[in-house]
Symmetry: D2
Subunit: 259 residues, 4 copies
């Protein structure tokens, strides 16, 4: 049986990020023969949060499902649709918030995929334990499908790699997001889980993680408040393509995308 090929795209940042998705996603999906496309959308609306309009627009551009992260609540419009839009999840370890932390989606007639979003706690707000949350939800999802993708939205490399090992053999693909810089450590772990510390972002390359560089430098040099603005110029899509064995849920291949 042909493996399932998943494209997982890093944090889409503002209009430049959305534009490069509009322009290149169809082409990429054909080029890599993608079966299912997930993207992190926490920065899709002006760099902070996501609106219903932006979300629908991205779904129309070919994204099948969206994960998010700490910026999910930045644009208040999210509260209008997070509970009804089944194709968007937020970190599962928020102790009490609208929306869902995981979802099981259909791919074609016979295939189901579980998608789980979790947030780290190192250098981040103290949500519920990401490891226990992942443990519990993956046991839940495993009752329905072996194909499980985890977006671990976290800062520290140690916490992300630890999660990779923790879920090794239980998830098909564990990707990190949040740092907006793609790492070069993609691999299949010992028990068959494809892993990468961060898939990077989708947005302007001449920037500081998507933001206009002068604004960020001013911040670091003065420690004064500054309104961050999404940078202009050329953008690229960062992400990974992973092949999953439909029978076992194990990963067969993981490849970085940067184009």
């Amino acid at each position: 049986m042909k493996p399932l090929r998943i494209l997982m795209i890093g944090d889409i940042v503002g209009r430049p990020g959305r534009t490069v998705i509009h322009e290149k996603l169809s082409f990429l999906k054909r080029k890599y023969e993608i079966d299912f496309t997930i993207a992190n959308g926490e920065n899709a609306a002006g760099g902070n949060g996501i609106t219903e309009k932006v979300a629908q627009d991205l779904f129309i551009s070919g994204i099948d499902f969206m994960t998010t992260g700490n910026h999910i609540w930045d644009n208040k419009d999210v509260f209008n649709f997070i509970d009804s839009e089944e194709r968007i999840i937020r970190p599962a370890n928020y102790p009490a918030s609208p929306g869902k932390g995981y979802q099981i989606a259909r791919i074609g007639q016979n295939c189901k995929i579980g998608i789980l979003n979790i947030s780290g706690r190192t250098f981040m707000p103290p949500l519920d334990c990401p490891f226990r949350t992942a443990d519990k939800i993956i046991n839940e999802i495993a009752k329905e499908t072996k194909i499980i993708v985890v977006d671990f939205h976290a800062e520290a490399t140690s916490e992300k790699i630890a999660m990779g090992w923790y879920l090794d053999g239980r998830a098909s693909l564990v990707v990190g997001t949040h740092t907006h810089v793609q790492t070069a450590d993609e691999r299949i772990l010992e028990n068959g889980t494809a892993y990468i510390t961060d898939i990077g972002m989708t947005g302007p390359i001449n920037s500081v993680i998507g933001v206009e560089k002068d604004k960020v430098l001013y911040k670091f040099l003065t420690q004064m408040p500054v309104r961050f603005e999404v940078a202009g110029g050329p953008s690229e899509i960062n992400g990974v393509v992973a092949d999953i064995d439909k029978n076992t849920g194990r990963a067969l291949r993981i490849q970085r995308i940067k184009e």
Copy 2:
């Protein structure tokens, strides 16, 4: 004139890291025709700090110069030789500490290279401003040579990328260290500085940033104190090779190494 080819190696972690240096460095230097080899040695002694014995051993293995980072002071032996060993520097923005934050080294008869080590402050201790420190020292070094390598030992991707842009056109090569995970964003910035957010580590691959994974998972799951131990198993060298134009100090090429 042939460009200068520099090999910059990521944090060498404990005995496994040193062993892979002993076994592979000579070969790598020949393979890539390296002119000068720098390594970050902050974790060289048992994962924490560096001793004189370990340092000399690494120099004998073919490393020409060492930068360090926040772990430099972990092994008290460092205080015995940091002031006399001219081939090791510590972050320049410690406000009052032994050792030096930069050094100008000779490569052959006619070539001088300035090496600068700085530490970030985001999610790290509040040292002096890394940007102002870099600014001042690079002006100093520039009086003697145009070939300048900066090891920015920092956690946050935003701070590291901001430093890259800040020094663009003034340094030949700016590499990040500290996260122990190599990033895939190596490039030549707009004004000729070669940049990468993190060059990764040199040590055991089946680990959490060099540490035995069970210990780290225990820590994350319990928040209890635990003695971290350097992991065993296969190791690899992570780093970058950069070509620098000797006349202009500009970078011509940057390539990731992971072997």
Copy 3:
């Protein structure tokens, strides 16, 4: 019926802290006609952690019960007795650790007191939610007694005051510990809970929260590692005396102690 009078003593720091307890506690208990004495013992052994010997010694000096905090695990001897010593508790929101987070103790024949220890998370490690933990345990304790004392070991004033309001009317006394500086905001909250943000420490007054001041200044000025040592010189006991109505569990009075 005469109210129950509780003496709650702030973090006992090292030998100086233990000595002032030996010297003054009996006198204080007589002077204030104390029925039950609780102390925070997380720094009792050399400033870091607690040993069985130190603990027994403090019980002999007249302390009836001990709470602790983030330093509880610093001295490894604690693992030898934390599970058997019913008079010592550790923060209840450690997700998986030895020892207990609360205890119900007897005072005389007819009176039971529930003592709960929790740790904050602001500027501290990400344990389980302190508010949910408190909620759950207080419901448990309330089945057996209305007299409930909470030691909330936390850094941020906002988190501590929030806990006071959260437990107002459900606990008899909520005291903060950890900052080692007594606050002047003791009061009875609107629904009858006695509250103070921090009861201070028991140890050397010419120090920085118990530590030799030169060591701490060296640390702040250099950001270099330094071995903290408990300071010498005169010590004082910091704490509060609270009167609890035995029938309702409500606080009638709270008074700061500094002597």
Copy 4:
């Protein structure tokens, strides 16, 4: 010669804080026979920052001088007057910002007072070293007057007490602000500097450091974004009264105020 009597008032929070100043300050100044009144105004406008209108209003109410802190930049109106209003200072260790970090004010014909504002760095943004900044500026002020008041706006008790000892004998009065909770450790240090870790806030007492308690509890329980609002209900003024020997600059007395 009669000592100089200074009233130093803690962070004035929003309208409730300003109202209690209007209502009680004149009375307090007469009651305590105050010569000079300083207040921390970083939260004076709606809880965040300060506007010109609010500032002038507070000066009219009897405040002679204002210090601030990390919230100084929250209301953008501050940029319109911070450079021209000589009676307001901001933390001196901002590396590059408008306004001044210290000022020398006149009290009557013959008396000058130096006022210095510094921010801590523990659990706060990485400004320049507060200790070196204080050192340098106090040497500057000392050329003109021996009467020196320092507002150290900081979070950690250790950093604040360390600053007290660091300036002992060089400043007349060192007060902490920022935690909004008054501490009970006021004293004259060994070399004559009056010190207190925090003077508390001026604002609504049934609140969490000035903010409506339900909002803060919602934040702690959910980790969701929430718009903080200044609480209502009764307010009080927190601060200290200190007597300074005009000839030596040494403190003779320090007394907490809470009314």
